[in-house]
Amino acid sequence: MNGHDELISLLGAYALDAVDDGERQAIAEHLDLCADCRAEVARHLEVAAALGTTAASAAPDELWANIALHLGDGPLEAPDSPPLPGLAPLRPPAAPTGATVVSLDERRRRPLGAILASVAAAAAVVVFLTVGLVQANRQNAELAAQNADFAAQIAQPSSIEDVAQEALANPANRVIELASDTGDESARAVVTPSGGGYLVSSTLDPLPAERTYQLWSISGAGAISLGVLGRDPGTTAFHVQGPITTLAITAEREGGVPSPENIPLVTSTA
């Protein structure tokens, strides 16, 4: 393997598993370093998935039961509705025998932060986001200028609600809707081109005194706190650097946490 052009020429074949082992290894290593190629492979994989879906077929009834036996934590409830038209419901799984049981304590050790990082929005580019309104140790002049701009914004005599509403009304800004899976809960944020952001509204119920809502940006680089919102979030300012990936709000212990410990209550869809 030699050169970036040679690697690029293989990206389609790589996405179809049509390269040899040496090429596969070289490309995999390259993808860890090259966002453009990673994005191209992601697009190829979506096409491959579309092709693969053309072969969809009803899985055998007993297959899920066999899988459940190997999970190590007892039988699972069988899926009661098929993913495909005509797929018969699966029968309940047999009782596990000889399965390795992992304690709940052990299971809870799985780091949620890593999982959250891995499920960042598919179309997003890995970005760097800053935490809070002003970060003290900026080294980049452009970032400093952005911060000054943002500081100037928040230094205006208008209330934060007014500023947020103005931002919301400006078509140059991006409005981000967050919603729960059920659609019962929602929140709205707006982000200016310079990175100033406002949580404008939410339907989240007030939390107990020892709890707080926390806003996160989730990307391939991980989940980064954008700020603690309090137990009954009103309009709140935050700041991001770079394009937004996924925004999420979790309920955490009072004072906030460095990485999310709970599943998001609402997330943005893009």
């Binding site: 074949a13 190829h44 879906t53 077929s57 009803a58 899988i67 999970l71 699972l76 891995s118 499920v119």
Partner: protein, 190 residues
């Protein structure tokens, strides 16, 4: 969390918390696609079931390996399925080659009636349509590589084309399909 209405992203997060019901839902949504692809590639139900089991349990053990930046959950699971199936195909092919000590090229044009199989799948009509609009060289290269489980070098031999041409056709064909799928709003279901 209501698993039935949860997004794939939240199911992945829940699997990360060892939520078994979340895995059940993942299987309910994507198990048929995974099994169908494995069966299509391997043409052996038992081997296909083994692949499905490996993929689902692998996802249960390592949900963090799913990176949504690189595609949707279904795409990830199908990619895992394809990769494992191809490994089996190539291992089996190598075994046969050794046993038969045959130097013959058993991948000849026309051995794979893949287009007809795709056509038979009504649920994938649109994808099939788009595949059918590709120039023959691109379509054949993609079909042989993806559904035949062959490397681009093997495809080049089968189609009697330079390897560089096959690489290029696979890539350009996938790009063309991606454009068409995006315009039609028919990207891989998530």
């Amino acid at each position: 969390m209501d698993h039935r209405t949860a997004s794939d992203v939240n199911l992945v997060i829940a699997v990360g918390r060892y939520d078994q019901a979340a895995l059940t839902e993942v299987y309910r949504r994507h198990g048929g696609a995974i099994f169908g692809l494995a069966l299509r590639l391997l043409r052996d139900r038992s081997l296909a079931e083994d692949v499905v089991q490996t993929v689902i349990i692998g996802f249960w053990d390592h949900p963090d390996r799913f990176d949504a930046e690189r595609g949707a959950l279904r795409s990830y699971l199908l990619a895992q399925t394809h990769g494992r199936s191809v490994d089996l195909i190539r291992a089996e092919s190598a075994r046969h080659r050794r046993e038969e000590r045959a130097g013959r090229n058993d991948l000849r044009r026309g051995d794979y009636d893949l287009e007809r199989e795709v056509v038979d799948l009504a649920a994938a009509e649109h994808v099939k349509d788009i595949l059918g609009t590709l120039p023959d060289g691109e379509r054949q290269a993609i079909e042989l590589a993806y559904f035949g489980g062959h490397t681009y070098k093997e495809v080049a031999v089968a189609l009697d084309q330079p390897e560089g041409t096959v690489k290029s056709r696979i890539r350009s064909g996938l790009r063309r399909m991606q454009t068409e799928l995006t315009q039609a709003g028919t990207e891989a279901p998530s």
